[in-house]
Amino acid sequence: MIFAALLQLLLLIALMVSAYLAIKFKDLLNCVIALGIFSFLLSLEFYILQAPDVAIAEAGIGAGLTTAIFILAIRSTSRWEVEE
Amino acid sequence: MRNALLAISLLIVFASLLYVAINPGDFGAATGEHLVFGEPKYSDMDDYFIHNGQNQTGANNIVTSIVFDYRGFDTLGEASVLFTAVLGTGVALRLLRRDRK
């Protein structure tokens, strides 16, 4: 019981850290990878909360397809964030 | 200044969410019914699906039997929404391609 609560606390802290890193990086490819990690940890959280259907959908779309589309977009534009 | 305001508003939202998570409160206290979090008052529909879904549709996965059989119209709408989204993407990109020439 205490182990599950500790695991969930650790997961939520990791979620916040990855979400912060996704907006803080200057290299956009790193941002996309951080966003993929965020989606993967979110799907793990759904699985712990006993919703395996939602977890599979989140892992497939959030961590797989969105990352691929962002990488395709970065490939045809610039890789570095430009300061105004 | 702007960053400090942002931080303070985020802290207020975080504190209220934490308060609700620690102390879920007493649902239905105004009407005199004391409901527990996670145990709804009316659960006839859920009980019907759980007890009769396996006999009627033959599927072990109750979620699939609800999504594709009992609530088939919802899935039809979802599928047509996806179809229309792909159609819209194709039309938009084709228009952009014609502009480029």
Partner: protein, 151 residues
């Protein structure tokens, strides 16, 4: 095009991801998952190949017309399966517990999970899986085409 490490790994993982996606679609009425989730997993495999390789290589492997055809056929098969039970009502599960294809009788309680059950549900799962795979794959192919034209 990515580095050689990414390309080797993508061509190895591609088949595994596709097999896992089709497993999710085929066992949608027994285990968690179903048509939409399985189709999304298969589309992830296609996206992996598209990201890892160059446009000239992909053009021969993944055909856009094939994906659009899969999408249309999936939606059509879903609607036709729904209409096939019109004798009682729309979306009526007339194959369940009938002894025909996917018609094994199931009673309330724990069972090992036979794949020959659940009537029209496996057919609908397959139809929706094909539709989602075609739809999400064709969106990625559109993005790839347009990104190539811009560059």
């Amino acid at each position: 095009m990515m580095s050689k490490i990414v390309r080797t790994q993508a061509s190895f993982l591609y088949t595994l991801i596709l097999i896992f996606g089709f497993y999710i679609v085929a066992h949608g009425h027994l285990t968690p998952g179903g048509g939409f989730q399985g189709g999304a997993v298969i589309a992830t495999g296609i996206a992996l190949i598209v990201v890892a390789y160059k446009f000239e290589n992909i053009k021969g492997w993944v055909k856009k017309s094939m994906l659009t055809t899969a999408e249309s056929i999936g939606l059509l098969a879903f609607i036709i399966t729904g209409i096939s039970g019109i004798g009682v009502s729309f979306f009526y599960n007339w194959l369940a517990n009938s002894g025909l294809l996917f018609g094994r009788v199931v009673h309330y309680g724990i069972n090992p999970g036979y794949i020959n059950t659940a009537g029209t549900l496996p057919i609908m799962n397959l139809a929706v899986g094909i539709e989602v795979l075609g739809g999400l794959g064709v969106i990625i192919m559109y993005f790839l085409h347009y990104a190539k034209e811009v560059k």
